[in-house]
């Protein structure tokens, strides 16, 4: 990322950082996000409970300090504080890992195909088309049904779905960018195509990519929770925000806390991610004021 930003003419990374730091909403979101991540990492160690401990005397009790269940318990007397944070670990990990996978593959693939054009583009997009027409979500469902629900499988499968989107969007943008005057000029000057892609195409894609990435993390988190709704999410005793929200949604009329806490964390995280994405976009795109 640094190299790319540094490569952007007259726009060193420091300036982008300064612009980002000046954006109050984005900074607040970043801090909040950092706090949530921190809570998910160390929170479970602070609580007196473990994820699967059953408190036989306190089943589905509302939040309370003296009971030691800060977020209440679920129908089986399991502590929701611990479960929410543990679920956050899984959701965040799935979201980030899958997004990274899809970004790296997608940008490389789309930029190369779009810039190279001609036969290379045709073949590369042919491959994307072929994969595209595979209803991937359905394959994810099949994989989950048939081969057990495994954390790794979830994020590989989701990442594999998303890079296609990325590749197409990047390629579409590249198609127009490469017809732009400055690219044509660089090509006329005999600059190596790879350098052109890296110096001119990719930086110009950043706006779209960052917005897209900011949308992808929450999207992945949602996809994971969608699998949870179908009964195909991560395997118990592991849990995720999606699974907890799904359970909570079924109890919202009589045990609202079991929806509110995980949903609050989920929504806040998604919100923050989006603000950070917007902030990054504004900071990275010098054309915008």
């Amino acid at each position: 990322m640094n190299a790319i930003v540094a490569g952007h003419v007259h726009s060193p990374g420091r300036m982008a950082l300064q612009r980002f730091a000046a954006n109050r909403a984005a900074m607040t979101a970043s801090v909040l996000l950092a706090l949530i991540v921190l809570a998910c990492v160390i929170g479970p160690m602070l609580a007196p409970w473990q994820m699967d401990d059953i408190d036989w005397t306190m089943m589905q009790v509302p939040p309370g300090i003296e009971a030691g269940h800060w977020f209440g318990t679920d129908a089986l007397g399991r502590d929701l504080f611990v479960r929410t944070l543990e679920g956050g670990r899984v959701s965040l990990a799935v979201g980030i890992a899958a997004t990274l996978v899809s970004l790296v593959i997608g940008i490389a693939w789309g930029a190369i195909a779009g810039y190279a054009g001609g036969r290379v583009d045709a073949v590369m997009m042919r491959i994307v088309d072929v994969m595209y027409a595979l209803p991937f979500m359905f394959f994810v469902i099949l994989l989950m049904v048939f081969f057990g629900r495994n954390f790794l499988l979830v994020f590989v499968a989701i990442g594999a779905v998303n890079w296609l989107d990325m590749a197409r969007i990047v390629r579409g943008q590249t198609l127009s960018i490469r017809e732009k005057e400055y690219v044509l000029a660089a090509r006329a000057l005999g600059v190596h195509p790879f350098t052109i892609v890296l110096r001119h195409v990719v930086p110009n894609l950043l706006g779209v990519v960052v917005v897209y990435a900011a949308l992808t993390v929450p999207q992945v988190i949602l996809v994971e929770s969608f699998l949870g709704f179908l009964g195909l999410g991560v395997q118990e005793p592991a849990t995720s925000w999606g699974m907890l929200v799904n359970e909570g949604a079924r109890e919202m009329e009589f045990a609202p806390w079991s929806l509110l806490f995980p949903a609050g964390f989920l929504a806040t995280t998604l919100l923050c991610l989006n603000f950070v994405g917007d902030g990054l976009r504004d900071a990275l795109d010098p054309k915008d004021e």
Partner: protein
């Protein structure tokens, strides 16, 4: 002049219809899943059975309280040795197209049900009929099956061995007659509306896949005057929460189930609609008896059973009126009383003390704990039960338990192969009101004994019961057999399932029953 007459006629009609038939009664039932088939000999699952009970009538049928009453057969006679049944059919029984229902129709139906080409999932339970097993195996022609029409209205069924549960079994859809003409004319498409001819209180009027099935009253049904609901809708709604919401919004009169965690809320907020009753079924854990640590270790199995607080599971983990189970057979089976193991009346402390003693005697301790795997199919309830049991074993004995859950079909395969399993989830729903439907599971010759249970005494008692013609004596033999099974701790019974519905309080005629059969013909709206 003609105009005036038509006005008169109209006015007369208005008054007349207002008096004679008020609103047509329409019943809307939630039915969870799309039925796999409406062919009574191919169908499987409760969804299809619910609809088939409205469409068809067997020789016998279940009354609203679940007891078996005459259906198409007005009465029947049993021979001395209990192997020959004569059923006398009522002469006013009609198909929905007006054809009479004859003994031939039943012969045709039963032959079709056991014919190997039909591949009926229930064919095996008809194995008591003479030659049924050979027909099923393709060794004999379906015509050799021990059923015969002595005349239009007399049906003879010959059995290979006495089976007092035959009469109850004949209320099951695998023994229904089918309309020969339409089956032969339309082949596999005979279950479509327009082609479908049935002999029950209702006829199939519409079938929109995954949307609804509509039944209209069969005007030719012999007891049509007693039928008060005119139209029945079955909606496949797989999401419990969605079904519940549609009931609440007044779009359903009967639900097939209630949402998992709603029981308390419903009891407080909609008690007039909530119907929960014990169901002819048992939820239990099996031990893999082929392999250590459970092979030849009845003491260990007993320790594990004693350490489970079944009352706590039924009340806290499930909490929907489930009963703790101490036997394979659920309570309430007609003419049968399940044996009660000694510890059932012990207080929990005594059970735990005994469990600890047995656990230690089996060679386990805090330093050398038992490490065991509970395997179950994916599902909230199963997970919670397993979690609770693991928690109890850990607390009382120090057992280290690993929970493994698998998708249903994968689970079934592993359970059958008995290679990976140690402790595993099991359950059984009785097909008819008789202990035999449960106890045959554990017979060493049973095709579905995934437990590896083999006890000659048990087999001998069951076999003797199968030959016994005296009903009382037969029940005694089965009770002895079950006592042997429980003594061996071959399984760990956990609880008795409940049937749970939401029923429109305006709907009359609903009676809770063990079989969870609620035919629409017995229901009506009070006004």
């Amino acid at each position: 002049m003609p105009q005036r007459i038509s006005w008169l006629v109209l006015a007369f009609l208005a008054v007349f219809t207002g008096i004679a038939c008020a609103e047509p009664q329409v019943l809307r039932r939630g039915n969870q899943l799309e039925p796999e088939s409406l062919d009574p000999h191919r169908a499987r699952g409760a969804e299809a059975a619910n609809i088939l009970r409205d469409l068809y009538e067997g020789l016998t049928r279940a009354a609203p309280d679940g007891s078996i009453v005459p259906g198409v057969a007005e009465r029947w006679e049993v021979s001395e040795d209990g192997r020959r049944y004569l059923f006398y059919l009522r002469d006013d029984a009609r198909w929905s197209n007006g054809d009479p229902v004859t003994a031939e129709d039943f012969v045709f139906g039963l032959r079709r049900s056991v014919a190997p080409d039909t591949a009926s999932p229930y064919a095996k339970s008809l194995g008591v009929i003479v030659n049924a097993t050979a027909v099923l195996a393709g060794e004999r022609a379906p015509e050799t099956l021990g059923v015969a029409a002595l005349d239009q209205r007399t049906l003879e069924i010959r059995l290979a061995q006495p089976a007092p549960y035959l009469v109850a079994m004949l209320a099951h859809h695998s023994t229904y007659p089918v309309h020969r003409d339409s089956v032969e004319r339309h082949g596999e498409r005979f279950t479509r509306p327009g082609n479908h001819v049935s002999n029950g209180a209702y006829a199939l009027a519409d079938w929109q896949v995954n949307t609804l099935i509509r039944l209209e009253r069969n005007p030719h049904y012999w007891d049509a005057d007693a039928v008060r609901i005119d139209t029945v809708y079955y909606y496949p709604i797989s999401d419990e929460e969605a079904e519940f919401n549609r009931f609440r919004a007044g779009e359903l009169d009967v639900t097939q189930t209630i949402p998992v965690r709603r029981f308390e809320w419903l009891r407080a907020n909609m008690p007039e609609s909530l119907r929960v009753a014990p169901y002819l079924s048992t939820y239990f854990y099996g031990f893999n008896l082929h392999k250590p640590p459970f092979r030849d270790a009845p003491g260990l199995r007993r320790a594990l059973e004693l350490a489970v607080d079944k009352e706590l599971i039924a009340e806290k983990v499930l909490g929907r009126g489930e009963l703790p189970a101490y036997s394979l057979t659920p309570p309430g089976i007609a003419g049968y009383r399940s044996p009660e193991p000694d510890y059932a009346t012990w207080p929990m402390e005594k059970r735990i003390a005994e469990a600890r003693r047995l656990y230690a005697a089996a060679g386990y301790s805090g330093d050398k704990p038992l490490e065991v795997e509970i395997r179950y199919n994916t599902g909230d309830t199963h997970h919670h039960v397993a979690l609770a049991i693991a928690n109890m074993w850990k607390r009382h004995l120090g057992v280290k338990t690993r929970l493994v859950h698998e998708e249903w079909r994968v689970f079934l395969q592993n359970r059958r192969q008995a290679e990976l399993t140690q402790v595993f989830r099991a359950g059984w729903v009785g097909d008819y009101n008789d202990p035999h439907t449960f106890l045959q599971l554990m017979h060493s010759a049973s095709g579905i004994n995934d437990y590896g249970y083999r006890n000659e005494e048990y087999d001998r008692l069951l076999d003797a019961a199968a030959q016994e013609t005296d009903a009382k004596r037969r029940m005694q033999l089965m009770r002895q057999a079950e006592a042997v099974l429980l003594e061996d701790h071959a399984i760990l019974p956990l609880y008795v399932y409940v049937s749970k519905h939401l029923v429109n309080p305006r709907l009359g005629g609903w009676q809770d029953n063990l079989l969870d059969h609620h035919a629409s013909r017995d229901l009506y709206f009070k006004d």
